[in-house]
């Protein structure tokens, strides 16, 4: 029995922005400690789907969801679920680096502080660990008291990853984390994803086919709010079932 544990699952998910039907009947299972990539043309609903798993879409007025989103087999939209608790467990890295206008140290410590951690020694230790696993420690260890805005875009994005990891979530959602970065920073982040796989379940949205092929175990192809194909990454890129998938990855549209 080498069937892996299912970490995230979507069951017949439909999602609406007011009247606009953004996600149409999506079913997906994501295994624990795997990396899953979402690809698809702009506006097909990748971000919308990703943001369902930490309930970020709750912030938008007039949205509506049917179907089920499960984390460890439990419905995260159940009334008994505390959104804050859920988000502690499901970290998110956004497309644009969005550090707080605070010091580098306080950025990483933020999640701990809002979750009531008072032990400064522990906070210091977690900040260092997180910055280390985000491969940023060496670059910032001498300027932790400096504003996060003084970092480069790539460093800021790694800071945001460190910030997300500081509270030890089990899932990391990444929405085009490398889209604004140069090739070197991108390579660093991809390397990081490989590392993080040991401890996290990672879902990453990307427009970069090579990136999806390099980092992910499984890939999902979205088109106009539907999940067209979801399979092993190798299979998707070498021998997809659907013609539209084939067309997309070979760059014939989108």
């Amino acid at each position: 029995m080498d069937e892996k544990k299912i970490k995230l699952e979507a069951k017949n998910v439909n999602f609406y922005y007011d009247d606009f039907h953004a996600l149409k009947g999506i079913n997906m299972q994501i295994e624990q400690n795997s990396v899953v990539a979402f690809i698809g043309p702009s506006g097909c609903g990748k971000s919308t789907f990703l943001r369902l798993f930490n309930r970020m879409n709750d912030l938008i007025d007039g949205t509506h969801l049917t179907g089920e989103c499960l984390l460890d087999g439990r419905d995260i939209y159940d009334k008994r679920v505390h959104v804050d608790e859920l988000r502690k467990n499901v970290g998110m890295v956004f497309q644009k680096p969005n550090p707080f206008p605070k010091t580098i140290f306080e950025n990483v410590a933020y999640g701990l502080r809002v979750n009531g951690v008072k032990d400064e020694k522990y906070i210091k230790q977690r900040v260092e660990e997180s910055l280390q696993s985000a491969a940023l420690w060496e670059e910032v260890k001498d300027k932790l008291k400096k504003s996060a805005f003084e970092l480069s875009g790539g460093q800021q994005q790694r800071l945001c990853i460190a910030r997300a990891m500081a509270i030890s979530p089990s899932v990391l959602l990444m929405d085009e984390p490398a889209s604004a970065l140069d090739p070197i920073s991108t390579a660093k982040i991809e390397e990081l994803i490989h590392e993080l796989k040991k401890d996290y379940t990672i879902v990453i949205v990307t427009h970069n086919m090579q990136q999806a092929a390099r980092v992910s175990d499984k890939t999902g192809f979205f088109l106009l709010g539907e999940l067209i194909e979801y399979d092993q990454t190798k299979k998707i890129f070498l021998n997809p079932e659907k013609e539209s998938t084939q067309n997309y990855i070979t760059g014939r549209f989108g």
Binding site: N54, M56, R87, P101, Y110, G111, V114, F149, I167
Partner: protein, 398 residues
């Protein structure tokens, strides 16, 4: 043709821009020119002199000393650096107590001599006399003629601009009155204003906002006399009974009225500032498991800090300059208040109340312009300070 029109519009815009600047500059120059004139005016009323006996060692007196002498609060020369003798006050019309009117001559031609001898004969006299009745051979000693000094103006504690022989132009009570009332107003308005701004920007749903916003904007449009009425009829009696005061017209009443008046400004500007917090900042915070309140005070408020500061300054600006409502509810006593529960008088209220009765070009008139300058400088300092603070913040991002 099109290019010509563009040029024309550009020209008109430029001209109106520079005209506005020039107008503002002219107003400021005018204000200061009139105001500075105060320090070239003599302390003693124009056309009059103060004189003592030749034997008296005292050569000059400060405005406050003169006032206290004529008010009977200083009664001995010892108190002002002279010998230990009682002061004898002599006003011009007192001359008829010494010499009957018949002796003055047909056209009062002997009056100067009589005045001279009165001053000569009384060693402890201080006489307040019209300059035109001084004879060439006047036997008294004239006290030093000084101009009104800036020191007495800015640090003087007495504001009696119409008292004779020497008017008192100490603006400290007025400056302090203004600051007290404004500070009180901000202390009241800031927490309320900020709370409402947070509510409107972050918590209220769309329907609630649609009702509240216009109401608050309406509040900004009410004329200040109406606020004054409200203060006089509602707040003043309320404070009076609440604190069991002899009079309800106090600095606090002014603060409360001003706070209500400043609220719409503070709310609107602060709400805008809060709204400018980028959504990705909020999402970053919520995404880390922070709840809504933590996000508000840890991310949104710090982010909106300079905007909130601007709101406060605009609020204070309104409070400091506000005239009518304050005039109506603060009791207008030009004394330095020990607590907010005493009557005070603010700079604008003083200007408004006294300008009508001050003879144009006189020292009193000039002192009111100088008060205007003081007010101008206070607001200038405030806005520059804010500019510096908010500029620093936004460039450092911390």
């Amino acid at each position: 043709m099109k290019r010509f029109l563009e040029k024309l519009v550009e020209g008109i815009l430029m001209i109106s821009g520079s005209l506005t600047s020039v107008a503002i500059l002219l107003i400021i120059i005018f204000l200061f020119k009139e105001g500075i004139g105060l320090f070239n005016s003599p302390e003693v009323e124009k056309g009059y002199v103060l004189s003592v006996s030749q034997a008296n060692p005292v050569n000059s007196l400060s405005p406050l000393e003169v006032k206290d002498i004529f008010d009977g609060e200083i009664t001995n020369w010892k108190q002002v650096g002279g010998t230990d003798e009682e002061i004898m006050i002599f006003r011009f019309d007192d001359i008829f107590n010494y010499y009957p009117e018949e002796e003055m001559g047909e056209n009062y031609e002997f009056l100067p001599d009589k005045l001279s001898s009165v001053v000569q004969e009384h060693a402890t006299i201080i006489a307040f006399l019209p300059e035109k009745y001084l004879s060439v051979s006047f036997q008294g000693k004239l006290l030093d003629k000084k101009n009104i000094s800036p020191l007495d103006f800015f640090f003087g504690k007495e504001w009696f601009p119409t008292s004779a022989p020497v008017a008192q132009y100490g603006v400290l009570p007025l400056i302090l009155g203004t600051l007290w009332v404004s500070l009180g107003a901000i202390l009241i308005a800031l927490p309320f204003g900020l709370a409402v701004a947070i509510y409107l920007a972050e918590i209220a749903d769309v329907r609630m906002r649609k009702v509240l916003k216009p109401v608050i904007e309406l509040l900004a449009g009410i004329p200040s006399v109406v606020y004054g009425f409200f203060g006089l009829v509602v707040i003043v009696p309320f404070l009076q009974s609440l604190f069991r005061l002899p009079v309800g017209e106090t600095a606090l009443a002014g603060s409360v009225v001003l706070a209500i008046m400043a609220l719409p400004t503070i709310i609107t500007v602060a709400e805008d500032a809060i709204r400018t917090t980028p959504r990705i900042m909020k999402e970053a915070s919520l995404g880390l498991g922070a709840n809504h309140w933590q996000t508000i005070y840890r991310v949104i408020l710090p982010y909106a800090r300079s905007g909130i500061l601007a709101a406060v300054v605009l609020g204070i600006g309104r409070a400091i300059g506000e005239t009518m409502a304050v005039l109506m509810v603060t009791g207008n006593a030009a004394i330095i208040p020990a607590t907010l529960l005493e009557p005070v008088r603010t700079i604008p209220a003083t200007i408004a109340a006294e300008l009508g009765e001050a003879p144009a070009g006189g020292a009193h008139y000039q002192s009111l312009f100088m008060l205007g300058c003081v007010l101008f400088v206070i607001t200038l300092v405030l806005s520059v300070a804010v500019e510096i603070i908010s500029g620093k913040r936004s460039s450092r991002g911390v």
